[in-house]
């Protein structure tokens, strides 16, 4: 009996010896934990509120030719039901907080807000809140009058309907202003340093577990980990400055820069290096990211959304990659695909997935992300300016921005400059595009294993089984966890139904996983900075080819997205555009 046991052990021991598998195991542990916390503790009256809200919206949509006040109230009531607001969820997520937003006059606010500070902030905003409440009450009075008048005419008087629509929109705006003022008044004290220490210990133990089985010294890792964690924290701190956020320069960039500064001046101390585990952090973060790639969302905005994202984006990705190889003649295929992916799909998230799938070098990932961040900072302001100046329909303008500006935050920012309709459409288009990264990563991993790596290796005749084994050996195994998590959560999402899933997944597990992922990626980018020599970048930026590729690809993306969005939203499906305009 002992011999087979030993064989079985050795046969499966690889599952505990490689980073890719540990990324999957750690991801699985975290995902199971998140399901236990969120699915096991749904908000009180969840089903009742959802059912009542849906019924109200249905009745109101049939009663009036515009969204009535009751419609908006039902929408707001349903949106307020969140898995993240249960006591169990709050108890967990408070340990995942990152440094808060701060302005130049008070950097300490990023980590600490005292009781008196919170009170002072509340007092300072009290007057604004009182005014906002009065404005809402006044707007409500006017809106009620306008809606009653329209209702009195059985919603047959176009002028009264239009008037009611305007006043109800004004009421929604006033309510939003009141909510903003209220959150300032209700500021609560915090001390993020207290919650960050347990988080650091938990992450150190989690990653240390895998490293132990992989044969690394856990002791050395545990000593080094706090240093990398501090770099990640500082990166969050710098990225939380209000203007850094407005420019779209978040922790990703600062983590790399801080690491660079150390590694290229005094040099990264050797004792820190055991915790510089770039790929381990990235792969684990990507497995968690997989659980938020929910295929159920691709029809959120109907068929036009599919065309603008799932048709245009792959065309731009493949064309840009081809252009990079054949015309720009990029030196590195991996750099080419990472730039093509981040430019055409969704910035940093696509760059990370693509880089991990094709095993790109960390310098290539850094360069691609740097290009994306720089161009996005400009595009998110220039694109809405262009949309405004040519007077585009807000739905078309939003779709154009959503399909072309790289990062989701920048898309929402650009949409906000244009107005609520454009913002909502832009964000939804970008969200559908985000979902594409799962398929994209799988496609790139498969292409690299089947085509690119085969070209590199000698092409000696191999039997089919040997060839398949070779392909399997080259395939990045963590991608299985990444895609697997996506499939499992997509199935769970469907099983729950969209409304319940919105509460328990979108506003439950996804928000928990998102907070944790941010830390994993911050550790990864700090590790990149700490282990990279600045001089290495010269050879990757040779002849400015990466920038040329990005600019050419983005120009094509802008043109094609506009053309397809125009055809879909303005010509083929004007009904959807009308509904969104309401």
């Amino acid at each position: 009996m002992s011999i087979p046991t030993s064989n079985t052990k050795s046969k499966f021991s690889f599952l505990l010896k490689f980073e890719d598998y540990w990324a999957i195991w750690l991801g699985a542990i975290i995902l199971i934990f998140s399901m236990f916390v969120y699915f096991g503790n749904p908000p009180a009256n969840m089903s009742k509120i959802i059912a009542e809200s849906n019924a109200t919206m249905q009745v109101e949509s049939e009663r009036a030719p515009f969204k009535t006040m009751a419609w908006f109230d039902a929408n707001a009531a349903k949106t307020k039901v969140k898995g993240s607001s249960t006591p169990a969820a709050k108890a967990v997520t408070k340990y995942l907080a990152v440094p808060a937003t701060w302005s130049s006059d008070n950097p300490l606010k990023s980590f600490f807000l005292s009781e008196s500070g919170a009170k002072a902030q509340g007092t300072a905003s009290a007057e604004k809140y009182t005014k906002a409440k009065a404005a809402t009450a006044e707007a409500k009075g006017v809106a009620v009058g306008a809606e009653t008048a329209a209702s009195g005419a059985s919603f047959k008087d176009a002028e009264l309907n239009a008037q009611a629509k305007i006043q109800i929109a004004a009421l929604q705006e006033a309510k939003a202003g009141e909510a903003k003022a209220k959150s300032a008044v209700e500021a609560k004290p915090y001390n993020h340093l207290v919650t960050m220490i347990p988080l650091m210990l938990a992450m150190a133990l989690l990653f240390g577990l895998g490293l132990h089985f992989m044969g690394f010294s856990v002791g050395k890792f545990l000593i080094a980990f706090p240093a990398v964690f501090i770099f990640a924290t500082l990166a969050f701190f710098i990225g939380s400055h209000e203007f850094a956020k407005a420019w779209g320069l978040n922790y990703v960039m600062w983590a790399i820069i801080l690491g660079f500064l150390v590694s290229n001046t005094v040099g990264t101390p050797k004792w820190i290096m055991p915790a510089v585990q770039t790929e381990y952090y990235i792969k684990t973060g990507l497995v968690l990211l997989g659980a938020t790639i929910l295929m159920n969302k691709i029809l959120l905005i109907g068929v036009p959304g599919i065309f603008v994202t799932w048709i245009v984006t792959p065309i731009v990705l493949i064309t840009t990659f081809w252009f990079g190889q054949k015309v720009v003649k990029m030196e590195s295929k991996t750099l080419n695909i990472v730039i093509s992916a981040d430019m055409s799909v969704s910035g940093v998230s696509a760059a990370l997935s693509a880089a991990a799938a094709c095993k790109a070098k960390k310098e290539e990932l850094t360069l691609a992300i740097g290009l994306s961040i720089m161009f996005t900072a400009v595009m998110m302001v220039v694109m809405p300016m262009v949309v405004k100046s040519i007077g585009l329909n807000p739905v078309l303008g939003g779709a154009w921005i959503g399909g072309t500006v790289d990062s989701t935050g920048a898309v929402v920012a650009a949409g906000e400059i244009l107005g609520p309709v454009a913002r909502d459409v832009a964000a939804t288009i970008k969200m559908i595009q985000n979902i594409l990264i799962g398929l994209m990563a799988f496609g790139i991993a498969a292409y690299w294993a089947l085509v690119v790596e085969v070209d590199k290796s000698n092409k000696a005749d191999l039997s089919f089984s040997t060839a398949m084994r070779e392909v399997w050996n080259r395939f990045p195994k963590f991608v299985i966890g990444f895609i697997g998590a996506s499939i499992v959560f997509t199935i769970i999402y469907s099983g729950m139904g969209a409304d319940n899933a919105n509460v328990l997944i979108d506003n439950g597990t996804s928000s928990f996983l998102g907070s944790l992922q941010k830390w994993f990626f911050a550790l990864a980018f700090a590790s990149i900075g700490l282990s990279t020599n600045f001089r290495e970048f010269g050879k990757y930026f040779k002849g400015g080819k990466p920038a040329i590729l990005y600019i050419c690809g983005q120009s094509f993306n802008i043109a094609l997205t506009f053309a397809v969005a125009y055809i879909m939203f303005m010509k083929v499906f004007p009904g959807i555009t009308e509904k969104l305009l309401q």
């Binding site: 919206m57 109101e60 949509s61 049939e62 009036a64 030719p65 515009f66 969204k67 009535t68 419609w71 929408n75 949106t79 130049s104 950097p107 710098i238 400055h241 203007f243 850094a244 956020k245 407005a246 420019w247 779209g248 320069l249 978040n250 990703v252 820069i257 801080l258 500064l261 150390v262 001046t265 005094v266 990211l289 938020t292 109907g302 969704s346 910035g347 940093v348 996005t376 998110m380 302001v381 990062s407 989701t408 935050g409 920048a410 929402v412 920012a413 906000e416 400059i417 909502d424 459409v425 964000a427 939804t428 970008k430 969209a498 996804s510 998102g514 941010k518 499906f573 009904g575 969104l580």
Partner: protein, 94 residues
């Protein structure tokens, strides 16, 4: 020999010190770039007004994936409901 060795030791130490100073200076410049440079740059290139809107709406423009963006949690149901419960219109498109 002793003198030469000492000289090299001093030079090495001074070199190390210079690198530490360089790091400290770089961190100060980085901090100033964020706290003073970025707001000034916003004004300089004419983005200030737009950036103020982004700051007031508490949008983190650097967030690179949809689950990280707080506003998405309200936008998604609003869009879904707008299409699903569109008032007074045919629902044939979707």
């Amino acid at each position: 020999m002793y003198a030469i060795r000492e000289l090299f030791t001093i030079q090495t130490n001074r070199f190390k010190l210079n690198k530490s100073v360089l790091l400290s200076l770089s961190l100060v410049v980085l901090y100033l770039f964020v706290t003073v440079g970025l707001p000034s740059l916003s004004k300089l290139v004419g983005f200030y007004e737009y950036h103020q809107v982004i700051i007031e709406e508490k949008i983190d423009a650097g967030e690179w994936y949809y689950i990280f963006v707080e506003q998405i949690r309200e936008i998604e149901p609003r869009v879904t409901h707008s299409l699903q419960y569109a008032p007074g219109m045919e629902k044939a498109d979707k």
